[in-house]
Symmetry: C2
Subunit: 339 residues, 2 copies
């Protein structure tokens, strides 16, 4: 659709220069054609399947519009890499649609693309295409990430079996509490955390750490897996529904970082928030009992901690939370809705 010429905004580059100066340098693979084309050709890899995920983030829904642009870029990329990792896929390509608000600046783009470059190098991925567009209502970052894996080895949410053991990577709840720190929520005062602990939680919210290194172990051992992005309880409920099973979650086994454990001890509903809040970007896996030792060993080899937190049951549907004594813990069990 027709737009006003850029002459009204002489200090900003036009679309062509923006792509040439900031995005084309991120797209150096042959199939990306230096972003001179409007489509990309993904290299055929015999013996592999292509796994695709597409997750978008909107300002003031998934991040604050005022967050550092490089962190917005890296978060948008990483939430997609997290999805691929949980399927056992190694990422290699991504596409970006960047819907820019009217007040975008070249400095913002420079920071945003710097963030993309840092993560491209960290994860060995390349930009293959996408578009930039005007978004009168605010920033929306849409990423499509592409990975590959040996044919027929993708791990879904649907394959869980009764008595599979439930494992989760890393620690749970840091980002949900970190968001409260980031937005200056008064609830944070009730947790009596040191400033350094608050900063640690906030960092976990701002910059997810997708478990890309786990993808081989996921493929080798998991009957079902997904990333934990909308809260452990809600996401476990989704895995149960997709697999046609129920689950028992042992609340005393859920791995918490020191700051989250402190916050839970101090009360203030931090346990609910930790189990129900989003943005963990850890991996939840269903592991057949006979594979537990091998899975734990393979995860440890790539430096990723894993914790057994419960098991799948044939008593579908639903997730029961029990404490150390086996008593049922009443929980608000729901997954965050993104609209």
């Amino acid at each position: 659709m027709a737009q006003n010429p850029q002459t009204a905004e002489p200090s900003r580059p036009g679309e062509f220069d923006l792509i040439a100066d900031y995005f084309a340098p991120l797209a150096s693979r042959p199939g990306a054609f230096g972003l001179l084309d409007d489509a990309a050709c993904l290299p055929a890899r015999p013996g592999t399947d292509v796994v695709v995920t597409k997750d978008s983030l909107a300002a003031n829904v998934h991040f604050l519009a005022t967050d550092p642009p490089d962190l917005i870029a890296r978060k948008a990329l990483r939430v997609n890499l997290s999805d691929l990792a949980a399927k056992g896929a190694e990422p290699f390509a991504y596409f970006l649609s960047l819907a820019l608000p009217p007040d975008w600046t070249e400095a913002w783009i420079a920071d945003f693309t710097r963030g993309l470059r840092e993560d491209q190098e960290m994860y060995g991925i390349d930009l293959y295409g996408g578009d930039t567009l005007k978004s009168p209502g605010g920033l929306v970052v849409s990423i499509t990430a592409v990975g590959h894996l040996p044919t027929g080895t993708m791990v879904t949410r649907l394959g869980g079996r009764s008595d599979d053991l439930l494992f989760v990577t890393g620690t749970i709840g840091d980002a949900a509490l970190g968001l409260k720190v980031h937005t200056g929520d008064p609830k944070v005062a009730e947790w009596h955390l040191a400033a350094s602990q608050q900063a640690e939680l906030r960092d976990r919210y701002l910059l997810p750490r997708p478990r890309v290194a786990l993808c081989e172990a996921v493929r080798a051992h998991a009957s079902a897996a997904m990333d934990v992005s909308d809260g452990l309880l809600g996401d476990l409920g989704k895995l149960c529904r997709a697999s046609g099973l129920g689950a028992v979650l042992q609340s005393d086994r859920v791995p918490f970082s020191a700051p989250v454990a402190s916050a839970i001890e101090s009360g203030g509903a931090a346990l609910d928030l930790a189990l129900d809040g989003g943005d963990d970007y850890e991996v939840l896996l269903a592991i057949p009992p006979g594979r537990q030792a091998d899975f734990e060993a393979d995860a440890a080899k790539v430096g990723i901690s894993t914790t057994r937190i419960g098991s799948l049951t044939k008593f579908a549907p639903g997730v029961s939370v029990i404490d150390a004594g086996g008593e049922t813990v009443p929980m608000r069990s729901r997954s965050f809705e993104h609209f």
Copy 2:
């Protein structure tokens, strides 16, 4: 990020029901896992390359927020199919990120997904994944479309050769003039068009007709091709830059529909608008002179009209427009900027 529970909006389905009721029925292929997973597995097709394009549309930039939801859906899909067709790729899959404004309704979603279904059936494609999210600032529809073609046969913008003949499909300018009709622009009165002609133009704006049937002929004959989405002159300039060539465009040869031809005759800057306006979604091709007859025959076989409008030249860069007498026509030559 945490959202208010849906209890504040009791009349609208939650994300889970929305996916189950409206989107999952569009995702019936095995690799889409009924949208129960957060990633899709694209079937491996030996001997083929995967071609991917990603184009997003924002309300009040690429369409009006008040446009019929089924037409918004179909336009969003079709602009991506148009990109694939111009590369010679047959579409088979798409992913959708739907960023919904706060006032979305279930009826809107029902109409939107009905539009998707109609076009899925028309073009033989399936939904494989994506996400829905809240967009405080307004609707953004982001589509990633995936096609395939025999390995190594993708046609890019980069392969044009000096003396290649330039062809374009269909007619040019209908949508650019149609947008003026759609928005009630006073300029329309200067064109003295019948109501039926205005409606014809408006329809071309609202619902592109991607040239999917041409993809085999594109692969067989074109040394370079692209879809015309941002205006013929500007897009030809992009093809020239990508191929490192210049072009001569014969303005008297550009194919216009009867309403556009009438509007041009009546003055009112309609020629500039037709050559420079966006949303044509026709295909621009560079055809080696020796292949002209075969290309025209193959296009005619699939019912697509093609017109020779000029040629590529080694006098890079830039596009010269000449009239029937060979005189240079001064043009505002630029491509529309989407931000």
